[in-house]
């Protein structure tokens, strides 16, 4: 059988097994006696071995086999796993990852390195007689075996779900079907995404008999994978909060990211068209039309919500590899660190996973290098030798808050200020309160490289973290108490693609402002604008804002009188009232990121196209405020 069609599936499943294996191994390092974890780790290696074998990737399969054997004695005797075994397994894991990469790129798969093989051999020597390893398990017709079966229904099939149901029934006759995805109930309703059925089966029948049972019309391919003796049931409660088990998976299908992006884009365009239709029907005033448009709007809204849900992935996709990174960095720095993740199940936009990778890694490095003290120093300060690095994620309405905190030495505002002064980032003599001084760590050029030395290597400063967050429509702030620790708070939108904007007209041009940053819209009466301390202020009952015409801020000449003021701000931070000719409405738009040309052209966060085809620039409130401040200083 030609297996190449299964390669993408193999790659993604094997990678998943490796990720879970890594989690298990790191947990075992902390709790070596966790028999359940040993079993899980074994199961992952066993699956990889089987899958790689059936794909014909023998170097991969044989390394997985070797590693799997290392676990056998511990598994059988329920002994605690020794540290050297964990170490070798982790090294083996890295090599498996490399091999998987080679497979992905269609390169020849290199066998495991000599050094690793020797280490495995040494461990075998004294681990236990590894004879009787479970591998060759002759197909004993008496023995109850667990199998994973994957069945692809032919595109020619006229009732694919019913066909899959028949497969399910046939296997049910052969033994016990432990799990079936989609569920039989879903099959009854005609649901079979991707025309693929996945089953876990316990049966005493041999493969030839089972194959015969599935000799059916319209069954395009059947793949048999060994499973462990134990059916994959949802894993029990996590042994330690620091390394939680993945949540029990609901029936899922794999869909290409490209397809998802298409859905999101298409739904975004639908939203834009919807707005346009609403406008039209309002203008035409036809009751029949507007009723229909309203109904359509609701459907589009529901569709949008569901499609956005599909884009959401658990934050664990982002954080899963961090425990390992943390362990390795801490180890190389001679520091002892416990890593904890809370809220790994919180959903975030898939696009955020990629975008946040570098910033998060930077914050982690930062905490390990500058935050958490070496064990001796911690002891001297009366702290536990083991430092704590914690990532806590939670959802608040349509935002995601991510906290990266350590219990290290904290940031001393006076030292930050001193350094900022020496770098010329702050004019000498200017007083700054502590919070303001802490903010300076995000300033471009405030590199910590001097202290970091070998550390950050790449020289990524915290300014990059802030820039990234801003680009994503988020914010980052820092809180710290000297001697006690530092917390970085990342505040992000739940989804990226659709943005609520306020349309404004300024100097005859239509512009958009992210609605989340608009605090108020006020009618503008020129008599309320006063000049105080060379700065225009807009006085309103109970409020007083710095004021500036938007056109002036964009360095455009305008002959139109501003009739409305849009107050933008950050809640607590700066507020600025922008004078505009008029507010033209509220829209949901699909934001397209700005090109470098646009970035240089002005304070823009991106572009969008309205339902009627008009392109509109989206303003970046932060850059507007910066520009305003800079003007005042000039």
């Amino acid at each position: 059988m030609d297996m190449s069609a299964y390669k993408p599936l193999f790659l993604s499943e094997a990678a998943e097994h490796l990720d879970n294996l890594e989690k298990d191994l790191l947990a075992l390092e902390q709790h070596p006696a966790d028999a359940e974890r040993v079993h899980e780790a074994f199961r992952h290696l066993h699956s990889i071995k089987g899958m790689a074998g059936s794909m014909g990737y023998s170097p991969l399969s044989s390394l997985a086999h070797g590693l799997e054997d290392l676990l056998v004695p511990f598994r059988q005797e329920k002994r605690p796993l020794s540290a050297d075994v964990v170490e070798v397994l982790l090294r083996g894991l890295d090599q498996l990852r490399q091999q998987l990469g080679q497979a992905a790129e269609d390169r020849a798969i290199e066998p495991a390195g000599e050094e690793l093989l020797q280490a495995i051999g040494r461990l075998h020597g004294h681990a236990a007689p590894a004879r009787g390893a479970p591998e060759p398990k002759a197909p004993d017709s008496e023995a109850l075996r667990s199998l994973q079966v994957e069945v692809e229904i032919s595109p020619d099939s006229q009732l694919p779900a019913a066909r899959a149901f028949l497969v399910y029934r046939r296997l049910q006759e052969a033994g016990r079907v432990v799990r079936c995805t989609p569920t039989p109930e879903e099959l009854r309703q005609g649901i079979l995404p991707g025309r693929v059925l996945r089953l876990s089966l316990e049966s005493r029948e041999g493969l030839p008999e089972l194959r015969r049972r599935l000799d059916l019309a319209d069954v395009a391919a059947v793949r048999w994978l060994p499973a462990d003796e134990k059916p994959p049931v949802p894993t029990p409660a996590p042994a330690a909060p620091s390394t939680p088990n993945p949540a029990p998976a609901a029936p899922t299908v794999r869909v290409s990211a490209e397809l998802l992006d298409f859905f999101v884009d298409a739904v975004g365009e639908l939203l834009a068209q919807r707005s346009h239709l609403e406008e039209l029907s309002e203008r035409l005033g036809s009751g029949e039309l507007s009723g229909s448009v309203r109904a359509l709007s609701q459907i589009v809204r529901r569709l949008h919500d569901r499609v956005m849900e599909v884009r959401l992935v658990p934050v664990s996709l982002l954080t899963d590899r961090l425990p390992r990174v943390c362990r390795d960095i801490a180890g190389s720095r001679g520091k002892k660190v416990r890593f904890a993740i809370e809220g790994h199940e919180v959903p975030i936009d898939r696009a955020l996973v990629e975008a946040l990778d570098t910033p998060l890694l930077h914050l982690l490095r930062n905490a390990l290098d500058h935050g958490i003290e070496p064990p001796e120093e911690r002891r001297a300060r009366g702290k536990p030798e083991e430092g704590l690095l914690r990532i806590a994620v939670r959802r608040r309405h349509d935002r995601v808050l991510m906290e990266v905190s350590d219990d290290g030495r904290g940031i001393d505002p006076s030292r930050v200020l001193e350094r900022a002064r020496s770098l010329g980032l702050v004019p000498p003599g200017e007083p700054l309160e502590a919070a303001g001084a802490l903010e300076l760590v995000f300033a471009p050029g405030f590199s910590t490289r001097e202290v970091a030395g070998e550390v950050s290597g790449r020289g990524v400063g915290l300014d990059v973290v802030r820039t990234t967050l801003t680009r994503l429509g988020g914010r980052v702030s820092v809180h710290s108490r000297p001697g006690e620790g530092t917390t970085f708070v990342l505040d992000l939108p739940l989804t990226l693609a659709v943005l609520q904007v306020l349309l404004v007209e300024s100097a005859g041009r239509l512009l958009a402002l992210p609605a989340s940053r608009v605090l108020r819209v006020l009618p503008l009466r020129q008599e309320n604008v006063a000049v105080r301390r060379q700065e225009a202020r807009l006085g309103e009952p109970g409020a007083d804002f710095a004021f500036q015409d938007l056109s002036a801020l964009l360095r455009e000449s305008s002959f139109e009188v501003s009739r409305e003021a849009v107050v933008i701000g950050d809640g607590e931070q700066g507020r600025l009232a922008l004078g505009v000719s008029r507010v033209a409405g509220h829209r949901e738009v699909v934001q397209k990121p700005p090109g470098s040309l646009l970035r240089r052209a002005g304070p823009f966060a991106g572009t969008t196209v309205l339902g009627d085809g008009r392109p509109v620039l989206i303003l970046d409130p932060d850059q507007l405020m910066e520009r305003f401040v800079a003007r005042g200083e000039a």
Partner: protein, 123 residues
């Protein structure tokens, strides 16, 4: 020896279509029935190797007939004839013991493939 097939359908047109397909492939037509009640009776009498069974029929539907036939003869091979979009009926028929199914409008090569494989399970 040619396998013997019994055709159950309330529409004469469908019975004739299937008859042509089966005879064209060398099968012997053991008999025909126009509803579920007749199907159960004739099965006992004719003991064909295979039955093609429509689902929606008067008096007794194909699912009920399949259940009764399989109860009387667990080795009976019943092929359900379904229309497109009848997943829930087909799955119900499978649960009642149907061996496999074919979908209208029939494609001869598909019908014959299903029949052949179904007969092989009995061998």
């Amino acid at each position: 020896m040619a396998s013997r097939v019994m055709i159950v359908d309330d529409a004469v047109f469908m019975r004739n279509t299937l008859k042509e397909i089966f005879q064209g492939a060398g099968y012997e037509i053991a008999g025909e029935a126009a509803n579920g009640v007749e199907a159960v009776e004739k099965y006992q009498e004719l003991r064909p190797d295979l039955i093609s069974m429509d689902i929606v029929m008067p008096f007794k539907n194909g699912i009920e007939a399949t259940r009764e036939i399989r109860k009387a003869d667990p080795r009976a091979v019943v092929i359900i004839c379904s229309a497109l979009g009848q997943e829930s009926l087909v799955t119900e028929a499978i649960e009642a013991g149907a061996t496999d199914f074919i979908v209208k409008p029939f494609r001869p090569e598909n019908v014959l493939q299903v029949v052949q494989k179904a007969l092989a399970t009995r061998a």
